[in-house]
Symmetry: C2
Subunit: 188 residues, 2 copies
Amino acid sequence: MTIHKGIRTGGRSARVQQSIHDAVKDLLASHERSDVTVPMIAQKAGVTPSTIYRRWGDLATLLADVALERFEPDEKLADTGSFHGDVLAYAEQYLDEMGSSLGRSMLRDVTATDDNQCARRCAEMITTRLQVLAERATARNEPYPPIDRVVDIIFAPMVYRILFSEKNPDTDYVRDLVDRCMAENSAG
Amino acid sequence: MTIHKGIRTGGRSARVQQSIHDAVKDLLASHERSDVTVPMIAQKAGVTPSTIYRRWGDLATLLADVALERFEPDEKLADTGSFHGDVLAYAEQYLDEMGSSLGRSMLRDVTATDDNQCARRCAEMITTRLQVLAERATARNEPYPPIDRVVDIIFAPMVYRILFSEKNPDTDYVRDLVDRCMAENSAG
């Protein structure tokens, strides 16, 4: 299973994209986000601003694309032997990543774009990984809750609290959500 | 009970704030959001850019402040005679408002700011109103779920889907969340 990439590239095009992504990361490391502009990125990447506008449309979409790339899952998900354990491990990992300042600014960047393609890619990161856990559960003949319910009960509240609360949720909070999700499933 | 306002003002200061808010609304009505700048707003409002920076810090915070003002609740919440009915009426109203393109861009603006004061005001809009419904339930000797659980079960999934999904949740979805929230309460 591959993660859907919003912007497909290959060859020279991929190298240009990589140099633009690298330029964005360098600039964000040394500047306030609100001070970074398309002409600055273009100059650093050695391309014209129109190359950037043609490919991404606007700065917000480029920032979101770069942010998403950092969080594309590359490592394996822990196999704990049960859906409950697997979801808990993934939810804790997600909280670690998205509760960091880099994660929070990624969530902000992807919701800030005008079309919501980047936001959907961000949501798909979760559902794609949950699908992997669901396939494992199926192979174990283990019942599991509908993916949409797992998102609503566990991931939506985590994301909501990361974006809107004074402080991040903690591990106890995540454990409680996972327990509730599994309890609803065994009751239903 | 008053809604916490992030930026307190009075007299001349209030008039300046109002003219700046009005300038932002006018400019957003006629320009792409990404084309609106602090100097443009300052010129239209008849103030210096430094007045804006001094009061709001940056453009994102000003946009979020204007966006929040549009959604400060001013009307009464429907009293349906039960907590279940009241929460359902409020949740449907919230979906109507925040699922609109104006609502979605408000949610984006408040999460886009660097400090999360605006995001907290946005979350407080929900908890403050739920508190009003809880006080009514108390006066009726009616049990009700903890406010945090109402947020996690009903409002977090709505906001998550408004921000990250291809299409908005519909009324059936909201009814189902409210039913689940009340079922958990009567089971617990």
